[in-house]
């Protein structure tokens, strides 16, 4: 299990390859990469604030729960903070398990919980506005699936 919280960009492909190597006991590796979306074509940058200390603890707990529940062989979470450009990777998760159903479900679970239970806050900056992204009811509701 590896959790990284960082300002630097990352290469999702290289991270995935490194993650997938060295496991001979898994039959499935699933990954998800979240990217800064410019919905209206006017996004200058996205600023992501986090709560150092609590962030690592919260992600660690979420990963531990996923690992136990789906018997994961391994899990990876990378999440950036600071100032990001449109199209830049924000975060990625990867899961490794014996079978794909477990790997997919665990990755989905990790994403739902990282969205609503890891202390990050996104702010969208355009040429004439700076707005904190509001949490969606649907994101909170998604937790009830689990």
């Amino acid at each position: 299990m590896l959790v990284r919280v960082q300002t630097e960009p990352f290469d999702a492909g290289a991270e995935l390859n490194a993650f997938a190597q060295g496991h001979t006991d898994v039959g499935a590796v699933v990954s998800f990469t979240g990217v800064v979306r410019d919905t209206n074509g006017d996004l200058t940058e996205m600023q992501i604030e986090h709560y150092p200390g609590m962030t690592e603890r919260a992600i660690g707990k979420i990963v531990d729960e996923a690992t136990a529940r789906w018997n994961l062989a391994d899990a990876l979470v990378i999440h950036r903070h600071g100032t990001l450009s449109p199209g830049a990777p924000i975060m990625m998760v990867a899961t490794a398990a014996a079978h794909r159903a477990a790997a997919f479900a665990a990755a989905d679970f990790l994403m739902d919980y990282l969205k609503s239970r890891a202390p990050f806050w996104k702010k969208e900056i355009t040429s004439d506005s700076a707005d904190w992204v509001a949490a969606k009811t649907a994101d909170e509701d998604a937790l009830n699936r689990w």
Partner: protein, 81 residues
Amino acid sequence: MNVMYFAWVRERIGIPQETVETEAATVNDLIAELRGREERYEAAFADISALRVALDQELSDFDASLSGVREVAFFPPMTGG
């Protein structure tokens, strides 16, 4: 205790953290104290339903006890991922 603010809560109050000397028994008591201080606190805590609280870096509730707590953080619902 150390009180921290994040995102728009930090912006409204104007500082990321401060040391608060308080006898408040619960989070709600602490909020009532802070609201009585200045308008910027009143503005930040006007709608508690828009806020979340963490005690010593664990999500908690507004009626939770502050006994033994060293760090309180107030912030809006999280938007990670």
